[in-house]
């Protein structure tokens, strides 16, 4: 059987995969800066994250367009088609993760220069950020290695992020009667919620890993009908 490797097409697909997954590195940088900005109430660093989101959006647009071109010109099927479909989903998740970092950074100035900070809440959010960073790294590795078990393990790790988010909520309920403190706590809950969503996006990427490998799309956990 003569071998016709379609080498250029395959190289391009591999390059686009690397470029799409490289977006997760950009998100990790944005998340680390976001956590630093939260921890230090650093408005300037928050502005940097907001401005830098253009890089993540640019990556999304560039790779998305190239994948569409590949679909139009190369008629990919089977695993290639599933990979391209998955990458389009992954790109969307990456773009949303970047936006969630922006959402967090946008609320930092709202807390004011002399915010009535509760260090316990900050600690919880920074901890969420750390866990989420690990989730993102693991999602990227699971995709690169087509490792469904590693992808499924994201659910377990994401449960820890969800638990921290609930802790933030309970802390906000008990923050006291002072209006400024309550306002600050509500604002920080928005930040915690955004980080929690970043974790969910990492799990979504894990689901795409399973789709590429098995050809079946199943949510790892049904949020509408939890068991």
């Amino acid at each position: 059987m003569p071998e016709i490797a379609r080498s250029e097409y395959l190289e391009e697909l591999a390059t686009l995969e690397a470029s799409a997954l490289g977006g997760l590195d950009l998100v990790n940088v944005a998340l680390a800066r976001t956590m630093e900005a939260v921890e230090n109430q650093d408005v300037e660093l928050a502005q940097v994250v907001i401005a830098d989101d253009d890089r993540i959006d640019g990556r999304y647009l560039e790779v998305h367009q190239s994948l569409i071109t590949l679909l139009a010109t190369q008629s990919p099927v089977a695993t290639d088609l599933r990979l391209i479909s998955a990458l389009l989903h992954v790109l969307k998740s990456i773009e949303r993760m970047g936006d969630q970092c922006v959402n967090v950074c946008k609320v930092i100035p709202l807390t004011g220069n002399y915010a009535p900070v509760d260090p316990r809440m900050i600690e919880l959010i920074v901890k969420m950020g750390g866990h989420t960073k690990t989730l993102i790294t693991q999602a990227k590795r699971a995709f690169e290695e087509r490792d469904v078990e590693m992808a499924r393990d994201l659910v377990r790790r994401d449960d820890a992020v969800d638990a921290l988010n609930r802790e933030c909520f309970h802390l906000a309920l008990e923050i006291g009667d002072d209006t400024d403190r309550r306002e600050w706590a509500m604002t920080m809950l928005l930040a915690a919620r955004a980080i929690e969503r970043v974790g969910d996006n990492a799990v979504d990427i894990g689901e795409q890993v399973a789709f590429v490998v098995t050809g079946l799309f199943r949510e790892f956990e049904d949020a509408s009908h939890p068991s």
């Binding site: 059987m1 003569p2 379609r6 990919p76 099927v77 089977a78 695993t79 088609l81 599933r82």
Partner: protein, 295 residues
Amino acid sequence: MLGAATKRSAAGEGEPMAADQPTGATSSEPVTKATRGAKTIEVRDVDLYYGDFHAVEGVTMTIAPNKVTALIGSSGCGKTTFLRSLNRMHELTPRARVEGHVSLDGEDVYAKGVDPVEVRRLIGMVFQQPNPFPTMSIYDNVAAGLNLNSSRVPKSRKDEVVERALRGAHLWEEVKDRLDKPGSSLSGGQQQRLCIARATAVEPEVLLMDEPCSALDPLATLAIEDLISELKNRYTIVIVTHNMQQAARASDVTAFFNLDATGKPGHLVEVGATDQMFTNPTEKQTEDYVSGRFG
């Protein structure tokens, strides 16, 4: 249905055929009952030979009625040979023979006494190159099968059949005012639709198509594909194609044939729903072929 042979078919059947022997696992009686509609083709352990050359090995599959089944595979893997065995055209090649069992709704196509001409009427064929009879008019091209199959068909009946077949092939509106013009005066796409009309005029139950669009431009190809999609409501359709996208677009079921090396017999690697075959095939060979990794 599959009438007993009363005469041998026309030219090309000079060689004695192993196919005249019931070689399959089952051997049905020649059938005489007349029923209309798409039929199921059952293929069991079919081996095909050209003399000593073993061209196709051990094919077992069911071809469902009212569905388009695409046969895909690289050149030389035996898909056309297999297609031609379904209506006993394989045996027209000198020293060609068939082993195994092919049945149409349970009736053995190769049973002793079955007339191959009748088999070919019930299982019509459309070829790669549009091949209208060049000196015959459009009308006579469509009526040719009728003339061959029954000597006395009233003109009014013939008119009716020709119009119905041309309408069914989406050609009537284009040719109704020039039915007396030669078939060869039509464009390539029109000629292929004329051939489809000719094949359907004799009311077959199965249509075999051997790369029916390979000589056509993209628009004519899409017109034929639309037609195929409509024809499957009435017929069982089997199509050989090298165009992967055509198989993906136009078929419900895809069967992938391959051969291990040049000179080895082709075999059926995998058959399944087309969407499954093109998104998540079971066999790596299929994956590699449909993805263009080899071919």
